[in-house]
Symmetry: C2
Subunit: 171 residues, 2 copies
């Protein structure tokens, strides 16, 4: 029982876009960061675009960018964009079985499964893409700049994502 890697990859590329929001990011560049094929990235970004989380543009200087600011994108938004279906599913063999157990087990479990699903989603709803990028900045050595008087929001604005690496922009 585990989700596909789409969820983590989606968070990864969205974090990259949030950290470098000035220009559109190309799928080929993102794929190098994730270490996979560009088509895989475009497939996942297609799901995110369908969910209204990113916008894309073809042609030179094209690419992907966030459709809204990162603090307005929850992890639940991302989860629901790339994963589908319920956490638990009932479909085993054939629900049509003579004994009442088969008939009523599924009804009896429906509410519990829904509650568990809701509890999991509530946690994801409480975290945003901005939460993730903020923590990335804190965990990376670059947030040592904080000790030099920089605010983390300043770092956020002056960060760039060059050739697969997070670097400070030349200002």
């Amino acid at each position: 029982m585990n989700t596909s890697s789409r969820f983590v990859v989606a968070i990864h590329v969205l974090a990259a876009m949030a950290l470098d929001s000035d220009k559109p990011l190309k799928s080929e560049r993102l794929s190098r960061s994730v270490n996979t094929n560009a088509v895989v990235i475009r497939r996942i970004l297609g799901l995110l675009r369908a969910a209204g989380l990113v916008v894309s543009q073809a042609g030179p200087d094209g690419g992907f960018r966030l459709a809204r600011e990162s603090r307005a994108i929850s992890l639940l938004d991302i989860y629901q964009a790339v994963e589908e279906g319920e956490l638990f599913h009932m479909h085993y063999s054939e629900p049509s079985c003579d004994c009442p157990i088969g008939a009523y087990v599924q009804d009896s479990l429906g509410q519990v499964f829904k509650d568990a699903d809701t509890a999991m989603k509530k946690v994801l709803r409480g975290q945003t893409l901005a939460t993730v990028t903020r923590e990335i900045l804190q965990r990376s050595g670059i947030s040592e700049k904080l000790d030099e008087g920089w605010t983390i929001d300043e770092l956020h604005r002056h960060f760039s994502f060059e050739s697969g690496r997070l670097v400070l922009k030349k200002t």
Copy 2:
């Protein structure tokens, strides 16, 4: 984003054993109730036995029975017996990536993912196998006996699971 059918099947067969706790139930009989192959049932019951939820006995008049009473078996016990691993997993391509995003995204998400997993499990911990069988009895028409003055616990004791069907025992 969904569990295997093992979880629901495990609950199904455990409910059958709880509803008919007098004698051991054979895998072939349980497989008819679930509408699948007996080996599939034995595989799942093997996991439940390894988790200490059921005991088995070979030979004539053998079969499976609960290792402890149904109110002492939570849905989380069952879940952890048949499902493995974390709800979300991080392993995409190669974690070894030059940019800090790849390095720190996983660390940043670790706590959130763990929280979501815990929240889901907390719901499952709140329900027991006895909760399920009680609801099955209520939902099946047989609980109309309640209107005749029977307590649901009396029904619980006088129920039997004969040839793939829930029936009242001849007392």
